[in-house]
Symmetry: C2
């Protein structure tokens, strides 16, 4: 059995193809490729112009039921499915988010898939990679410096220092920076004010980069970002500060998608990684677009469960990119189903058919959501070592009984081979099922209507409640002409509701919107339904304590 | 006349050689080269092993007299001289520091030489380049997060939160972050304490990276860094926190030198960029070592005038690298000489022979310093458009009268051709002058003795005065076993003294040491002789306001 090797051990055993060879197989021109070492490259955006008239490949979105805190292996299934499609003779690319260093050095580990379904070189991808994350951190903090400098140098725009909403960021877990006071030390150091740092993936610039269609659009979106408000309560934008050109310059290379490969040599575009709560949680639109030009099948994923990831992918990302996904894969695991069947996290390894059956209500709701969007789908039951055959059969039987296409997959242990059954089902629904993709709300709906439609159709809620603060903000947003943007809900990923304790398929509940925040550059209104931590902390024993590098540069302790 | 083109216009006219071709000309093996796009690459440290037995090329250090605030074109002369040596048929590499984004976006502009003596691609070098600066920022701030997390999670090491000396950094000019309070917001966010941010080049990690001889040495130096003190006043090191492995992992690629080329295709290693006041101010030791293995002539520079840059290069860097430089080039300009002859900054363009003559005393002192070190030298008179022939002749005549080798150079306007006379003189002193290189102090000297010797011999001071604070720190440093490290003086670059107003060749003055700080990982004691700003601010009209990028990715507004 292969499975006792760690991710990094598997990764370091693999002999990678030169990235130039991966690129040649995709017919990427030499001058469209910018190598970063031997196994990573950026692809020039010129390729989109060259291939403008080429029809797009099918985009397959991988999403999941509401996950356990450990995650259900969605990235691993995404990579594994791409490998399986390649094994089945289909020209396939997998498109994924870039991992963030904070969680990598903290507790969660990296995010490049796992086992025999991971993207490589995992050491590089999980550390600095091609520098995109650092470019975003840098642009984000340059903007913050320009704001405070504007205030210091006379504050011509009359910015209210109590209402600077642009925060600084670091790509780290650093709780001590959540709430700070800056500008101390006297006149030479600016004006003292309250401030705070987010993790870089929470920066609006990350969301902007991931939704921009080209450099021009990137600049337009950066220019539109709201960084604060004037003393007379008017929004202050980046354009008013005059630094949208400089920010675009800082991001010009970060906008180019990164080409790498999976354990089995399937091409992978790993690019961008916005938060899945206050942002839309999927890789860059440009990476998806480039992948669709280069391959017949693009497998991609969106963060958290279908209530967050798929909903935002389908409402925000496909709108920005004007494309229709071909099919959706809904990942379920026995352990998550048991959790939704009221089993405690500590007991998820114990066989419990009854709990699996009860938990299936969660899966059922997510299937209904995808049906509501009019999209073909397949349920992927992602096998874990401890799953009992009887538990797995319970799920397979239920799906077949209800005519939901389903496949068991074992891609972590077996790579592409373990995803062949899933690949076959996916190809089948793409060929045979009709695609009636439509949005669940219109942009012309009011913000209240949009949230009500999402809450009812996607979460199964009775309706939406608004705090006084949110009601005021509704008025301000409409006044500032932002009412026709899509909404991006920040909600717990553990429940269909806004209460993480409500597992399974809760009913009769309301969603409470506490606060609304415009991400005018990204082009959505964030609706906060709970307190969302945008700067994680480190655990008592951070993963970093086990990290090392030997004298020859070989990494240790990444996972 | 070519000189009316801006640096970026010149840069964008040049057709660069593929970096693989530059590498081939240096006999770098294919597997020792990691390309970053088509015109940048990192060189694997394996090359030092392969070439271990090859004799080193000659290292030529470019330094200068005390500069005007605008700088005397030292980097430009360094690049120009390398181009001239190449033109003269010598196998030459130029080794330079990496620019910092803060000044690039602020006022000073980039730092990759200028005119027809610059390193390319200047847009990349001046922005994110190969990510070294970001890796250092990241490692620096990860360490800060680990410190605050250690305190938050129980503080086993008993760190005194009033004596955490490790600061966070950003590669930006951001005065609002100079003095901050962090850890606010309650129990979940750690302990509130005073903190502050430096610019990344001021991080001790930058100095460590630039003095490390390999990965193993890097880890050892990182482990030795002092981040704070316990409640009972014992130093707390990175090793005690257990994160030296993780930090080394974050820096493993940043340690590899970056290969680029000059306007004329001369190979350039641009790597590392420590502050020239609180650190030693020259490119990485590894870059210098690799360059010396690959070429017969290595032209390099050190920040500020010879009193700071050359002194530290010769006492700190050559000690860490155990090498002897072949010769020193001392750059002088008419405008700086006039400043030392008491002309106001606003009047430096007006012809003034008398002022030039008086100002020459500053040049004379720096020549004496290099003679004291026992090294061959050449004076490079760096021509500016406004210089009068008579002014130039005054300097040339004086040098010849006193038998100081001298050459006029015009490399900004003419490239290598404008440095041929200088190259000839340099080759001549390398061949004909004896090299009696020796240090001006021994490591076994006490810290007081070291500072006294530097102050007397290099600055021409009467002696050193110590504040009460510095006296206490002297005792603490000796107690902690750090007394045998070299010293690194943080002093104004505008004067030989510690008072920027004392131009020319001041006499009868004392140097006042206000504070001593151990950089135990870098391996030196910083002696602060004035208030050194380690986080610059932005001007009212930052350079960023003119920066932009067009739809094809072409950069504008860099200089």
């Amino acid at each position: 059995m292969k499975s006792h090797l760690s991710d990094i051990e598997i990764a370091q055993k693999i002999k990678l193809k030169p990235i130039t060879e991966v690129a040649q197989q995709l017919s990427i021109d030499d001058d469209e490729l910018e190598c970063f070492g031997h196994t990573k490259a950026k692809i020039s955006l010129d390729i989109l112009e060259r291939l403008e008239d080429k029809p797009d490949g099918q985009v397959i979105l991988v999403t999941s039921i509401n996950p356990t805190p450990a995650g259900e292996g969605k990235s691993t299934v995404t990579v594994g499915l791409s490998q399986a499609l390649a094994k089945a003779g289909k020209k396939t690319i997998v498109a994924l988010r870039e991992p963030s260093l904070g969680p990598t050095m903290g507790m969660k580990g990296g995010a490049a898939g796992g086992g025999y379904s991971q993207v490589l070189p995992m050491e590089d991808i999980n550390l600095h990679f091609t520098g995109d994350m650092h470019a975003i951190t840098c642009a984000n903090n340059a903007l913050a410096a320009f704001i405070d400098n504007h205030i210091h140098q006379g504050n011509e725009l009359n910015i209210d220092i109590r209402r600077v909403v642009w925060k600084r960021t670091l790509d780290l877990n650093d709780r001590a920076l959540r709430e700070t006071v800056i500008g101390l030390g006297g006149k030479g150091n600016g004006f003292p004010r309250e401030d705070g740092f987010d993790i870089t993936v929470a920066s609006e610039i990350m969301a902007v980069l991931c939704l921009a269609s080209n450099l021009k659009d990137l600049k337009k979106r950066l220019a539109a970002m709201i960084v604060g408000f004037t003393v007379d309560q008017k929004p202050v934008t980046v354009e008013m500060l005059g630094v949208h050109g400089a920010l675009t310059l800082l991001l010009k290379d970060a906008l180019k998608p990164n080409l790498v490969q999976t354990v089995e040599g399937t091409p992978a575009l790993v690019h961008g990684g916005p938060f899945a709560n206050i942002a839309h949680g999927s890789n860059s639109l440009i990476a998806t677009k480039v992948a669709a030009k280069l391959a017949d099948f693009v497998v991609t994923e969106a963060g958290f469960g279908a209530d967050l990831g798929a909903e935002k992918f389908l409402h925000i990302k496909t709108r920005a990119g004007q494309f229709t996904p071909g099919a959706v894969v809904i990942v379920a695991t026995i352990r998550a189903l048991k959790m939704h069947g009221s089993v405690n996290i500590g007991d998820l390894k114990t066989k419990n058919i009854e709990a699996v059956k009860i938990g299936m209500a969660n899966l059922e709701k997510h299937i209904e959501t995808i049906i509501a969007f009019g999209l073909p789908y397949v349920v992927a039951l992602n096998r874990f070592v401890q799953d009992a055959d009887e538990e797995l059969e319970t799920v397979l039987d239920w799906c077949e009984e209800h005519s939901h296409p389903v496949a068991l997959c074992n891609v972590w242990e077996e790579g592409g081979k373990g995803g062949l059954a899933l690949a076959e089902k996916v190809i089948n629904v793409l060929e045979k099922k009709e695609n009636h993709f439509s949005y669940l709300y219109d942009l012309s709906d009011s913000i209240e209507e949009k949230l009500t439609k999402i809450s009812r159709t996607v979460y199964g809620a009775e309706g939406v409640k608004w705090t006084e603060k949110a009601k005021k903000q509704l008025i301000e947003l409409e006044k500032n002409g932002l009412g026709n943007l899509p909404v991006c809900v920040a909600k717990t990923q553990y429940s269909l509701s806004d209460d993480p304790e409500k597992i399974g398929r809760p009913k009769g509940f309301f969603i409470t919107v506490r606060e609304l925040k415009p991400s005018a550059g990204a082009g959505f209104i964030v609706a906060l339904t709970g307190s969302i931590l945008t700067m994680p902390g480190l655990p008592k024993q951070p993963a970093a304590l086990n990290m090392d590098v030997d004298e020859n540069g070989k990494a240790k302790g990444l996972f």
